[in-house]
């Protein structure tokens, strides 16, 4: 797509128009805006014109004293529509889509202005947007792409932390999906359009919606929000490593790092995929059918041998954990307190997780070091379970002897009663 001189002029015009709002259009922060715009527009029958006024009721800007004129210009104090919407008084009316980022940026990029509302509020949204795929396409005149109003909304904007906001963690997937789940639209950009559906199959989405874990990654966690762009091959491990720090550190130590870079192959994505990330399984390790290592390695090569050693170590640790856990549970059901064994098993479980993290080094000795810790923990728990089983046997033997003594005493009493009542 070519940038036309006309469009360049429009951008320049918009940029020129973008300046901090006139003083009479912005009230005190924290105080709901008072203007004649909403009063008149609420009375209009045309839904297109009264809806923005209705939405202003809970709009973050209005709640912070910014009147309609703060964005649209004009005189928000005049009850005369011709005065209030007089271009001579700066009235701009409905914005051209290409002018929206600059218009929003006129305040949101003004650090001094935004400081009024919060000392830590970011002011780099516009510069980020310009670097994004959306911003770059808009710059080339493509008005199909997202602008500021596409995601948080134009009127009735909520704070990001407000659960009603379309960009709240639990909603943002569907907000992005409004465009990105449209395969026909996405086809124009060489995007499959299945990413949202794939993401919804992932462990990340499950954590978000099933566990209500708001820290679970959503679209913006990996792609960015205002600066939305796909992470490149070289930066995938950095993106995933933002949360999966230990795995990234191990990966960086592994021979895979240089090998993947040489092959221009993405790091994490090669084994875990990107959007449809599911819970990884130990059974993935190996060169057999449906095993990940087999994508690059084949039986007999050193990589396959390392995978086999790692797989065996993990299988042994996993089996020990499962067996001892069952034994401890059985003893617990018999009424024994197994708190100490639980602690040992928890330690073993932690070591097992660390062994799984060490997989990313693809170094068998590092994985085996952790699986040995697993086996030490399970052995300790197993001994406690065995001790508890011995205690149960001791108690039951004691009970049997006690019951025999009681029964003997009862028989003796019965015989005595019979003899004296005869």
């Amino acid at each position: 797509m070519k940038t036309t001189p006309l469009f360049a002029l429009a951008v320049i015009a918009a940029a020129t128009a973008a300046a901090a709002p006139a003083p009479n259009t912005v009230g005190a922060p924290g105080k709901h805006a008072q203007d004649t715009c909403t009063a008149c527009h609420l009375a209009l029958d045309d839904q297109r014109l009264n809806t923005p006024a209705k939405l202003a009721e809970h709009d973050i800007h209005h709640n912070q004293g910014v009147t309609c004129a703060g964005c649209h210009g004009g005189d928000p104090t005049s009850e005369d529509a011709t005065v209030a919407m007089d271009p001579a008084r700066g009235f701009k009316g409905k914005f051209d889509r290409q002018a929206i980022p600059e218009m929003c940026g006129s305040c949101h990029s003004d650090a001094a202005f935004m400081l009024r509302y919060s000392p830590n509020i970011p002011t780099d949204q516009l510069s980020q947007y310009r670097t994004s795929k959306h911003g770059q396409a808009l710059g080339k005149g493509d008005t199909n792409v997202a602008v500021c109003s596409s995601c948080p909304g134009a009127h009735g904007v909520f704070q990001v932390s407000d659960a009603r906001s379309p960009v709240y963690p639990t909603h943002i997937v569907d907000t992005c999906g409004r465009c990105h789940a449209d395969a026909a639209l996405m086809g124009k950009y060489g995007i499959k359009g299945t990413e949202v559906a794939e993401y919804k199959q992932s462990i990340h989405y499950a954590a978000l919606v099933n566990k209500n874990d708001l820290s679970a990654p959503t679209c913006k966690s990996c792609h960015g929000s205002h600066g939305a762009t796909p992470p490149g091959v070289s930066s995938v491990s950095n993106v995933c490593g933002t949360c999966h720090v230990s795995q990234r550190e191990r990966f960086d130590l592994s021979p895979h790092k240089d090998a993947f870079a040489a092959l221009s192959q993405p790091a994490c994505e090669s084994c875990h995929s990107n959007h449809a990330i599911v819970h990884p399984l130990d059974s993935w390790i190996g060169v057999g059918p449906n095993q990940k290592c087999g994508d690059c390695h084949s039986a007999g090569d050193p990589g396959a041998a390392a995978a086999g050693t790692i797989s065996s170590a993990l299988a042994g640790a996993s089996a020990a954990l499962s067996t001892v856990q069952k034994r401890v549970d059985l003893v617990r059901r018999a009424g024994m307190l197994m708190d100490e064994a639980d602690v040992k098993l928890e330690d073993a479980h932690q070591a097992y997780i660390m062994a799984q993290v060490e997989i990313h080094t693809v170094t068998p000795s590092r994985v085996e070091e952790k699986t040995k810790a697993v086996l030490a923990g399970t052995a300790a728990a197993d001994k406690l379970a065995a001790d508890a089983e011995a205690e149960i046997r001791y108690r039951r033997a004691g009970l049997f002897i006690s019951l025999c003594v009681i029964a003997l005493a009862m028989v003796a009493l019965i015989l005595k009663v019979r003899s004296i009542e005869r």
């Binding site: 009424g335 307190l337 108690r395 009970l399 009663v417 009542e421």
Partner: protein
């Protein structure tokens, strides 16, 4: 033997014990087809004595503070030699004591033994049952575990419904607005000092009334009792009671060994209440009935109506020796007999239905 004879002679010279021995030698227990019912009172007393003995042993290690209570019970059941057995017997014996007390009360009621001149025995027994339930309610909280904490919160909350003094009563029981360490300390005081003192005095009175008046024979069984030779209290009845106590001890040992009382998780006042909170089984018949009541009955809060109804029913039960006028003349009313069976059926059905999870 000479030492015993000499000791007896010494005591008799000083305390004139011979009349007591003579009383015991001549005391007899009537025999009829329902004389099995006479053993429940003694069995309840046996479980109470077990409670006292095991309770004293638990006191050696138990610490009544919110910070240490759970850990001290955990220490008792894991580290103290036979601590698990003592704690488990204490818990099981508490439940068997209340079960035995209920059996005793209903057998006395259904055989009409509350009638004149045994009103005082009935009333003291009724109060003893309430005290036993008070023991259960206060003791339930002492391990400071999750279930006990929230059940106590629900249980104490009910007293706030009492008109006029509900708010004050709630604060008195809890030692504040909510169930806290102050409640635990308070319940511990009730459980090991206040309730045992009152209970011991009432048991002494209850036993004195029984010894003074002898066993009651229902009017329908008088002929049978006359026809059969009564048994001597000492030693025959005492030996028979001994057999029942031994059976009770065997049941306790088996339950404690095979089903050690669970400790659960430590109470966390800031956690949300776990699902399916229920009180001890002997409160279930009231708990489930209160749950079935609508939010409001004739404009009055449903729970208040329910608690009022239970209070009234308890009062009627207490006053039955007075209300059942015919019983004073030896002709008990069929209506009160039917009421007894009805009450028993209601308690059994609601308790079992609740335990089976039928009532949601």
């Amino acid at each position: 033997m000479r030492i015993l004879e000499s000791l007896w002679k010494t005591l008799d010279e000083r305390l004139e014990l011979a009349p007591l021995v003579e009383f015991a030698e001549h005391k007899v227990v009537p025999q009829h087809r329902h004389s099995w019912a006479y053993y429940f009172g003694g069995l309840t007393l046996f479980f109470f004595m077990v409670q006292v003995a095991t309770g004293i042993l638990l006191l050696l290690y138990y610490r009544p503070t919110a910070e240490a209570a759970f850990e001290s019970v955990q220490f008792i059941v894991t580290r103290v030699p036979f601590g698990w057995l003592i704690r488990s017997i204490h818990s099981w014996s508490a439940n068997l004591m209340i079960l035995s007390a209920f059996a005793h009360m209903f057998s006395v009621y259904l055989l009409g033994s509350y009638a004149k001149p045994r009103e005082l025995t009935w009333w003291s027994g009724f109060l003893l049952l309430l005290l036993a339930m008070g023991f259960g309610f206060s003791g339930y909280l002492l391990p400071w575990n999750e279930l006990a904490f929230f059940a106590t919160r629900v249980g104490t909350d009910m007293v706030s419904k009492v008109p006029f003094i509900g708010g004050w009563l709630l604060k008195f029981l809890r030692g504040g607005e909510d169930v806290t360490g102050a409640t635990l300390t308070r319940f511990f005081g009730f459980h090991v000092a206040v309730l045992p003192m009152i209970t011991t005095m009432l048991i002494a009175a209850h036993l004195a009334f029984i010894q003074r008046q002898g066993m009651h024979v229902p009017e329908t069984l008088e002929e049978e009792a006359k026809a059969r030779k009564p048994i001597r209290f000492v030693p025959n009845f005492m030996m028979r009671e001994g057999i029942v106590w031994l059976a009770g001890l065997a049941a306790l040992a088996a339950l404690a060994a095979f089903f050690p009382w669970e400790l659960g998780n430590k109470a966390d006042p800031f956690a949300s209440a776990p699902a399916g909170i229920k009180p001890e089984w002997y409160f279930l018949f009231m708990f489930e009935a209160l749950k079935l009541l609508p939010a409001h009955v004739l404009g009055i809060e449903g729970e208040l109506v329910g608690l009022g109804a239970f209070s009234l029913a308890g009062l009627i039960w207490f006053l039955v020796p007075v209300l059942d006028r015919g019983s004073r003349l030896g002709h008990r009313s069929r209506a009160f007999l039917a009421l007894g069976w009805l009450a028993l059926a209601y308690i059994v059905v609601f308790t079992l239905a609740s335990l089976a999870g039928v009532l949601k």
